[in-house]
Amino acid sequence: MKPARRQVLARLPYEDKLRRVAELIEISTRLRSTRVKEEQSETTKITPKGHES
């Protein structure tokens, strides 16, 4: 992100920033959950037949 845009964000009212932080947490949580599901799916694929956990 360009420094000028970051300065604009830094000048937002605190309540607006808190809303954005909540959105960032939700995105981050969703990404983490997707990554875990993908990793579990990969593990299942490479586990020899009969040894699925």
Binding site: L9, A10, Y14, K17, R19, V21, A22, E23, I25
Partner: protein, 166 residues
């Protein structure tokens, strides 16, 4: 935690309640959630409430504080209390952090009065802790926050601190 809702006003209400009940002397929000008042928003997963204990014993009155918060509906998760899915860490203030609590700004959030550390104290506290993420916070604050450099220099001098080389 639903989007658009970090329950900071409720956290302030709880801290105001602790103060009114005489369980703490004073409090202020510190840490990343306080830094965001002065910088662009970034991801953080908890709120740090620094408090000046009334009880000068080793426990700093923590058991009474947690019992009070549990009555308000906070749950416990390790060293954190959790309010509507958002963790809150309650930290006894001393030295620099006590000064930061005493000199914190009064704000209002959703009609609830609260207290938040000044930018200069947040920078000094980050300098005193000195982890990689604290150095990054200092850099971000120096770039984005409207700092009172005289005040920052005075705090650093008073607490024998210096900013990391840039």
């Amino acid at each position: 935690m639903p989007a658009s809702s970090i329950p900071l006003a409720e956290i302030f209400a709880a801290a105001n309640g602790l103060r009114a009940a005489g369980l703490i002397e004073e409090y202020a929000l510190g840490g990343a959630l306080a830094a965001i008042r002065y910088t662009e928003p970034f991801t953080t997963y908890d709120a740090d409430i620094f408090f000046i204990p009334v009880d000068s014993g080793l426990s700093a009155g923590i058991p009474g504080i947690y019992a009070f918060l549990q009555k308000l509906g906070h749950t416990m998760d390790g060293a954190h209390t959790v309010l509507r899915g958002f963790p809150v860490q309650w930290l006894a203030a001393a030295g620099l952090t006590e000064e930061a609590v005493r000199q914190a700004d009064a704000i209002e959030l959703e009609g609830v009065p609260g207290r938040i550390m000044r930018a200069e104290h947040l920078v000094a506290i980050a300098a005193s802790v000195g982890r990689l993420k604290d150095r990054a916070r200092i850099e971000q604050m120096l770039e984005q926050a409207e700092l009172d450099r005289d005040s920052l220099d005075a705090i650093l001098l008073r607490h024998h601190l210096k900013l990391p080389d840039r």
